[in-house]
């Protein structure tokens, strides 16, 4: 039994070393639109908000809630969880040097929504996401992500839809140049 516990603890902590080097945390605000599932999603204008967590110099985990503002003010919310990789180079250097100012993100993840015959949140979609333009980085405290296109496959209803984020702003509170002075 003791061996099992030790093995489990080792399994939990060993992969952490894969993400060693940098860590940053930012608050995300932006826009979102969802096309292709109007039967379940009646939102017309959606606010994207959440956090972006840097787990290595080129990997990040994005937790993004998309809340409808129109027609119902905060009437419907879904949550996207995406693991993203920076394609053009380091997203953060982990030093006081700002590093790359322009990047591209490619990611995959899950969407938690009520877009199925039910009224509660479930993992419903597999997401594949491309953000062609990322300007800024955690070290410089701000980042803008533009024109994000995400393909969403609803594995409950077998429907395919598209998520589009015109622009998102990331405001970093941890892992900026201030933490490396």
């Amino acid at each position: 039994m003791k061996k099992l516990y030790i093995s489990l603890i080792a399994l939990i902590f060993l992969p952490v070393s894969l993400f060693a080097g940098t860590f940053d945390l930012g608050i995300t605000l932006g826009t979102n639109a969802h096309w292709g599932e109007s039967f379940y999603d009646s939102s017309k204008l959606t606010l994207a908000w959440g956090v972006t967590v840097g787990i290595s110099d080129d990997l990040e985990l994005d937790l993004q809630a998309n809340s409808a503002l129109v027609p119902q003010f905060f009437g419907d919310t879904n949550i996207a969880v995406l693991l993203q990789k920076a394609l053009l180079g380091q997203r953060s250097t982990g030093t006081r040097v700002a590093g790359l100012g322009v990047n591209t993100l490619l990611g995959a993840g899950l969407l938690f929504s009520d877009y199925f015959p039910g009224k509660f949140l479930l993992p419903t979609h597999i997401l594949v996401s491309l953000t062609p333009l990322v300007v800024g980085n955690p070290i410089s405290t701000k980042r803008e992500r533009a024109f994000t296109v995400t393909l969403a496959y609803n594995f409950i209803t077998t429907q395919v839809s598209v998520l589009f984020d015109l622009i998102k702003y990331d405001f970093y509170v941890v892992g900026t140049y201030r933490d490396y002075l």
């Binding site: 826009t31 017309k44 204008l45 027609p71 800024g136 701000k142 702003y169 405001f171």
Partner: protein, 174 residues
């Protein structure tokens, strides 16, 4: 002679806004909720033109013309409104808590607006009252977030529709 000189100076002063960067155009992402008919609610792109003759630190006025194009709840194309009105910046300050937003120094100048709101599907005269709580400006740009308005029926005083511009970027080109 003195009068002529004074007259010329006065004319130059009046005409000076015409040669400064006073004209701008903007693009925004709007959503509109039709209170009486939810199916007519829509979202899309808002195009705006702005004339800002002065740059006063308090109560700076500007004139705007806005038009929206988008899709309604049935995803049919729609042109929900055209607006003509004035906006007044409450104040313009450089030292504000939102400087983390931009790399350059930006002024914070929240604004109120009042406009005639033309909705081709409504027979009523509508007046729009708006507030842009997160409006930032530089020499050539305005950046606005969460600007919202309420359009009231002038005859009945009831709310006809309301809307939000999640983002709006205005570029002053002349």
């Amino acid at each position: 002679m003195k009068r002529i000189l004074l007259g010329v100076l006065l004319l130059l002063l009046i005409a000076s806004p015409l040669v400064s960067k006073s004209f701008g155009y903007g693009l925004g992402m709007y959503g509109q909720r039709d209170v009486l008919d939810e199916e007519a609610s829509s979202s899309g792109v808002e195009l705006s033109f702005v004339y800002q003759p002065w740059l006063l630190p308090i109560g700076n006025p500007s004139v705007h013309l806005k038009g929206a194009v988008g899709s309604d709840m049935q995803l049919s194309p729609t042109f929900p409104y055209i607006e003509l009105g004035i906006s007044v910046d409450l104040f313009r300050i450089i030292d504000h808590p939102f400087n983390f937003y931009a790399n350059n120094i930006v002024a914070y100048d929240p604004s109120f607006s009042l406009a005639y709101h033309f909705d081709r599907e409504s027979t009523s005269h509508l007046m729009s009252v708006g507030f842009s709580p997160f409006k930032f400006s530089q020499k050539d740009f305005w950046y606005e977030f969460f600007a919202f308005y309420v359009a009231l029926d002038v005859g009945t005083g009831k709310v006809d529709n309301w809307g939000i511009n999640l983002v709006r970027y205005t570029y002053f080109f002349r």
